[in-house]
Structures are given as C-alpha cells and as structure tokens.
Symmetry: C3
Subunit: 185 residues, 3 copies
C-alpha cells in the first residue's frame, strides 16, 4: 500500500507540472521572436518609381494622391513594402509586407491593418505571417494580432508590437515590428 | 501486483478525465463572455458631425454618400463606432469599434467584416479584440470569428454572435455583439 | 518496490505518448480536409448579369471596369462567388465565397485576400470558414491561413492551398482550394 500511495502521489505531481507549466510558458515567453522593419512610401502623384503604396479609396471630396483631411479618415492604402533586418530603407530586403491599411478615426490618427509578411529566402525564412489589428498611431507602441502563418510559420499565432521608427511628412514612414509567437507548432 | 494494477487503472481513469474534459469545456462553455453594443451612423453628405462611418469605395456608377443599388453590392465603409454596455447610443462608450465592412452580394444584404474593438479604460478593459467574418444581415443572428486579441485579451480566440438590434433607414444601425471566448490564455 | 518501479516507468511511457504524439499529429496530419472550387467573374461593364465580383477601388487614373495597369496594383475587388465540389462553373453551388481581394504589387501579380466560405446546406455543411493571406498568383500553389470558423467549423484553424485552376483573360478565374484543418475542436 505504501508504495502504491507514493506512485499515486507522484503521478499527480507530474501531472500538475505537465498541465500548468506549458500554459504559463505560452502566456509569457515567446516560442519564436523576430524584430523587423518595413518601409512605406505613399504615392503622391510625383514619386511613381519609388512609391511602395497607393491610396485607392477615399471619402467623398478627397482624392487619391493626398491623404484626406480629418486625420485621413476614410483613406484605404494598398502596399507592397520592403522588409529589412535593420532600419535602413536601402538594406537588402528579406521579405515583403503586403496588404492594406485604412485610416478610421476623424479626430486622431488611427489605422486598421490587414497584411502579410511574405518571405521567400534561402538564407532567411520561407513562408508567410498574417496580421490584423488596430493601430492607434499616436501611441508609442501598438499591439496587433498574428492570426496565422504558413511555411516556416505554419499555424503560428502571436502578437506583434508596432513602433513608428521614423516618418517624413506624409510620404514615408518606417515601422519597427516586434514579432512574438506564442504558438509555434 | 494487485496494488500495481489498481495504480495502473486509476492512472488511465484520471488521464481520460484530464484529456477529454478540457476539450468538451472548450467547445461548449466560454472562458470569458461579454455582451456589447456598437452604433454606426453612415455619412450621407449632411451629417458630418454625427457620422461615425463613411462609404469610401463603390462600384462603377455609384457615389460615396448613397449606398449603392443592388443591395449595396460593392460598397466599402470605414468606421469608428462607439461601443456601449447597453443599447443607448448616448451611453458613455467603453471602447471603439474600428475597421471596415463591405457589402458583397447582389441579391440580398450580406457584408464582410474586418474590425477591432479597442478598449483603453481604467474601469473596464484595456486591449483589443480582432474580428473577421461573413455577416448575412437578413439572418437574426450571425457568427463571426474572433481571431486574436491583445492586452486583457492577449491571444484570445472565440466566436462573436451579431444581432441587428435596431436600424433607421440607411443611416443608423446598432449591433448587439455576444462575445464568447473559448481560448483565454 | 519492483512493482512500483514498473508503475512509475509505464506512467512516463504513456505520458510521452499522450503529450508528444498529438503535437506531431497536429503538425502533419489534418483533422479535416476539404477540396473545393470557386469561380470569379469580374464585372467589366458588359456582364452585369453574370459577374460575381466588382472592382470597387483603384489607384489614381484607373477606372472600375478595367483592371489597373502595373499588374493591377491598387485594385480592390469585392466578390460573392459560387463554391462548387468540382471544377464546373455550372455545378450546383454548395456555398459562397464572399469577401475581397486586392492587388498589391507593381511588378508582378500578387493579391491579398480576406474572405469567408459561407455554407448553409442540409446535405453538405452549415457554417463559415474565414481566410486571410497573401496570394502570389504566379506561384503554382499558395498557402493562406484559415483563421477561424463557425457552425460546423467552430473555432477551426488551418491552412488553405490555392491553385489557379483556370482563367480566361481578365474576366474569369477559377481557384481550387485545398482546405486542411489542423485544429478541429
């Protein structure tokens, strides 16, 4: 009986470890972590060669080469931005950030993002990371959701923290993206 | 041997409980549950002060202040709607619903939604909930996916049930949202 | 002591099986698998009756009945496409593909997709599957994320592989979709 009791207790002790620890790990420590930059140059009617994004929708009265008044409310932009490992626009891209953003507030700068990071590199990653979320631009950091991935990021989920690393007028901005995966498969 | 057999059987009995019950719980019982309302006032050319959304894209021949014919097929609207705890438009908002919807059927009213609930409240929640999904408006209830969250809703997933709680012509509508999280972290 | 040791070892042997195998299964073997087709007929100003999609946003200088130059960069299309079990446009649809796609590259054909499969059938499925992801059209196969589901696909996640099964000029294209769920609930 004594040996049996010991076996029974040790069973529960191990069970607690295996069921509680993985959850805690998932909550607080990323299983994969990347820091990347992407660079957006908005088409303004004069920079066709360099532009990486274009305004394609606007509210009544606005046009497609100048961001709308009222904090750009109602503009949708489509983009294909280079993704780099450092903050230099001219560094060799390791991937592309592709998708759209839209400005959705009339009294401050906020955007809503739906986009993917697309990697096709033999010396970096292959696959995609898919993001959506709200981006209140005036906050120093903003968290959006990583809702899925493919290839090297198969079924991954996580949270990405955006920081505006630099911007020049209403034509160029650079985002630093802190990508933390909490489900890695 | 007898005590050992007992230990072995009890091991499997407990294992069945720990592996089967969590799955059943996840399927049928939310780990967090919120009921909220949001209020959308579409810009019609005359309600600039009150409007919370604007048509920003339309099919050929349509304009940006009147929802398109053919069940609004092809319209995209961008919105920043107040989120309230009850169904009163004038209640103090606890957050904002920000993103877009688009009408995508020619012979009935259906929309496709991509948006976030954004909370920044010391006495309610802080963080975001990210939604996408199809919204067949003529159904009494419609389920969309909660694909991620941040802050208080870190990594959450779930299903949100939308109900049209009220509407006035083609300018105002109020949605009741039954938010059920099944992954809470 | 001998019997206890055996119980302890067998405990760990079973534990390894129950904790390691499910992860491997999740990674490599879908818990549900569907193959479907959807058919997109773009409105070109002359096919109002048959068209299932419409260009609703375009970059400066482009219009809404002809896909934009520069690889359609900047076009957003809204769609409500029939979903069929085989590759025949005229087969009885088992559901609808509803949402949007946008062209987001200036020097090749790539799109970004946000859409849902909507099923409401007594002899097939009831519920929705929600997709987002990047679609580099020139690749034979492209993987996007299944970020959630409702009804029969409650809380499902997975990966969908898209293949361009056929296309006719810039008006009709047919996609084959290999849907693999790795989280089925």
């Amino acid at each position: 009986m004594a040996s049996n009791t010991w076996g029974f207790l040790s069973f529960f002790m191990v069970l607690v470890v295996t069921s509680a620890y993985p959850i805690k790990t998932k909550q607080y420590k990323p299983c994969k972590h990347l820091v990347l930059y992407f660079h957006d140059i908005i088409y303004n009617g004069m920079n066709k060669e360099n532009a990486t994004s274009a305004i394609v929708a606007a509210p009544q009265g606005a046009n497609l080469t100048i961001l709308a008044s009222q904090f750009h409310f109602g503009n949708i932009a489509v983009f294909d931005d280079p993704v780099t490992l450092d903050n230099n626009l001219h560094s060799k891209p390791v991937g592309r950030a592709q998708g759209m953003y839209l400005y959705d507030t009339k009294n401050t700068y906020t955007a809503w993002l739906g986009f993917s990071f697309v990697f096709n590199s033999t010396d970096y990653y292959q696959g995609t990371i898919n993001f959506i979320g709200a981006d209140p631009l005036m906050n120093k950091t903003r968290d959006i959701s990583i809702v899925g991935g493919t290839g090297d990021f198969f079924m991954h989920r996580g949270v990405a923290t955006l920081m505006t690393d630099s911007f020049e007028g209403e034509v160029y901005f650079r985002l630093k993206v802190d990508i933390k995966f909490y489900e890695c498969w």
